[in-house]
């Protein structure tokens, strides 16, 4: 009886495509390690169709998750998708392979403003993939008073109706910004200044969610919050007229997610090909269609619909006060501890 059961199981295993992994080793591959759901399948399929290179898309949900897997040396990745402050740290630690611009003719499509950012001034190691902001989203049916900044948002009358990102660095930076300290002011000396602000703010928060804050807003469990611009853009698309996006006047985080090639990549050439493919306006536009963040590719922007261009969350009008995050090194542990402490004290 064991024999027949074993035979059944083995046959099952084979029938389920045990052959598959063996077959994949033959074709050329590209190991892409990116944010979950951030690279559309249609783009990957298009690339494979054109070049014959199979793309293995492994995903992560935070920069730190990516670093953990990357630095453990457990797997070999050809492309990673870090945010700007992580690029800065990776460059400092010499963990990135410099890009060969000769292999990236489409790089010229990237807007001028992205060529001089502090984390990688000449785009030597990274290429911007998508840009976004972290700002205030309001359910206009429920929130009638003007909310122009963090100060306006974290008010007792909104207690229990607020959603924010579950991100220590973000929240601490906002707390400092509300006191007039710039985004590069996250230092050991300033850290304690965040404490009184957080003591005031955090008891008002209902939900912490970095993955899908729009869910709580759509469910009507919260009415306003500070979220990624892409989330807000989706809300505006889903229920136009119900939601508004406002960049906090005290200063908003502009994040840039980039493609970069880590040290130890085995398919450097394929990685370059992929980057150049993404930089094509018509391909880049597909990404914008699925993820309404700000597209750094100016040629791709020309291909977008008027509706997409008008979405205030994707393309904020005016001249808002935007800053990127800097790498803060070991202070990250202290930031996390402060946030953990404040969250625990303010929670149930």
């Amino acid at each position: 009886m064991i024999r027949s059961a074993t035979r059944m199981l083995v046959t099952l295993a084979l029938a389920l495509g045990l052959v598959t992994p063996l077959r994949a080793a033959a074709a050329e591959e590209l190991n892409l390690f990116a944010w979950s759901e951030y690279v559309p399948q249609s783009v990957l399929d298009g690339f494979t169709k054109e070049t014959g290179i199979q793309v293995n898309y492994e995903s992560y949900a935070s920069n730190e998750e990516m670093l953990a897997k990357l630095m453990s040396g457990a797997a070999s990745y050809d492309l990673i998708q870090p945010s700007e402050y992580v690029i800065e740290a990776l460059v400092k630690e010499k963990q990135l392979i410099p890009l060969d611009h000769a292999k990236l003719p489409n790089l010229k499509n990237i807007g001028k403003e992205y060529w001089n950012q502090p984390h990688d001034p000449e785009l030597r190691y990274s290429v911007p993939y998508m840009q976004g902001t972290v700002g205030i989203v309001l359910n206009t049916k429920k929130v009638k008073d003007p909310v122009t900044g963090y100060g306006d948002l974290f008010q007792p009358r909104y207690k229990g109706r607020i959603v924010v990102l579950d991100d220590a660095l973000e929240i601490v930076t906002w707390a400092l910004a509300a006191q007039g300290i710039g985004f590069d002011g996250v230092t050991k000396a300033n850290l304690e200044k965040a404490r009184p602000t957080l003591t005031q703010w955090l008891p008002l928060v209902k939900v912490y969610d970095s993955d899908s804050p729009k869910t709580a807003l759509l469910n009507g469990d919260v009415d306003l919050g500070v979220v990624w611009s892409g989330e807000a853009a989706i809300l505006i698309q889903e229920q136009p007229g119900n939601f508004a996006y406002v960049l906090p006047k005290e200063g908003a985080h502009m994040f840039i997610d980039n493609l970069a090639i880590p040290k130890g990549a085995s398919h450097v050439d394929a990685a370059h090909k992929f980057i150049d493919y993404i930089l094509r306006p018509e391909v880049s536009r597909k990404i914008s269609d699925e993820f309404p963040y700000t597209n750094p590719n100016v040629e791709a922007r020309k291909l977008l619909s008027a509706e997409q261009r008008a979405n205030a969350a994707s393309y904020p009008p005016g001249n808002p006060k935007l800053s990127t995050f800097r790498d803060i090194g070991p202070l990250a542990a202290d930031v996390d501890k402060l946030f953990t402490d404040m969250k625990a004290k303010s929670g149930p």
């Binding site: 099952l12 389920l16 495509g17 979950s36 995903s59 897997k69 457990a74 993955d211 729009k214 869910t215």
Partner: protein, 257 residues
């Protein structure tokens, strides 16, 4: 004690209702037209048909099943052998060995995942099917072992003796007498093993690679984007298939008491 039984029955009914409420919601919403999974807008089978074209998801399901099958096979061998050996022989290291074997069963998965990742990296083992199976077996085989140990305690030693007296070789006594006796425990341990492996998320996160994503990993990635009903659909399919498998196993068991 009819009353006692009645009351227990009612209570059990409530508990089962509690168990199945989310399942019912899950299944119901897999037929919901709205992408947002919030309000019922109409009936559709679209999410099921979309599953058919979802090669990434299907591949993930394949991976999960492959891993689960191998995990179960190895767990069955290790677990049954371990249980039998510890039953038969009095080793000096018995209690230590038992504690070690059962430790992964109760350790939080985050710790298990990270420590195994560190181990694999330290010894230079590339992440992939092997590492996933190893991590799954590590916390699955204790269930087999516990199940078989319980069954062994009820073993009538005269059974084996009789077989040997009647001319069977020790090996034959093992395969034709002992193993069939243990079969219910092996099956239930194997089922637990299979299930745990299929639904495993956290440990797998740390020990899988890009090419070997399992279904829970894939669902985890998508759930972050928002509750797409195709996830409900695949869960419903999952339930349907496993219930079917259970019913078949039950029928097979009825034929081999």
């Amino acid at each position: 004690m009819k009353l006692v039984t009645r009351l227990l029955g009612v209570w059990t009914g409530f508990v089962l209702l509690f168990f199945y409420l989310p399942i019912a919601v899950l299944v119901l919403f897999s037929f919901n037209q709205s992408k947002l999974n919030i309000v019922w807008t109409g009936f559709t089978l679209d999410w099921y048909t979309s599953l058919w074209h979802d090669t990434v998801l299907v591949r993930a399901l394949q991976n999960s099943l492959i891993v689960a099958v191998f995990t179960t096979l190895i767990s069955l061998v290790l677990g049954t052998a371990g249980a039998w050996l510890l039953y038969r022989y009095r080793y000096r290291a018995s209690s230590v060995l038992e504690t070690l074997a059962f430790l992964p069963m109760i350790v939080p998965e985050v710790i298990l995942g990270v420590s195994l990742l560190i181990l694999f990296v330290t010894i230079g083992l590339q992440l992939g099917y092997t590492t996933i199976v190893i991590s799954h077996v590590t916390f699955c085989f204790p269930f087999v072992m516990a199940s078989v140990q319980a069954r062994l305690a009820g073993l009538d030693p005269a059974l084996e003796e009789a077989a040997l007296d009647l001319g069977a070789t020790p090996l034959q006594a093992f395969t034709k007498v002992l193993v069939p006796y243990l079969m219910p425990a092996i099956v239930s341990g194997g089922l637990m093993s299979f299930t745990l492996s299929l639904d495993e998320l956290i440990v797998t996160y740390f020990t899988a690679s890009a090419g070997t994503r399992t279904l829970p990993l894939e669902i985890f990635g998508r759930v972050k984007k928002g509750l797409d009903p195709s996830l409900n659909a695949i869960s419903t399919v999952f339930i349907a298939v496993t219930v079917l498998a259970l019913l078949i196993t039950e029928m097979v068991r009825r034929r081999n008491p």
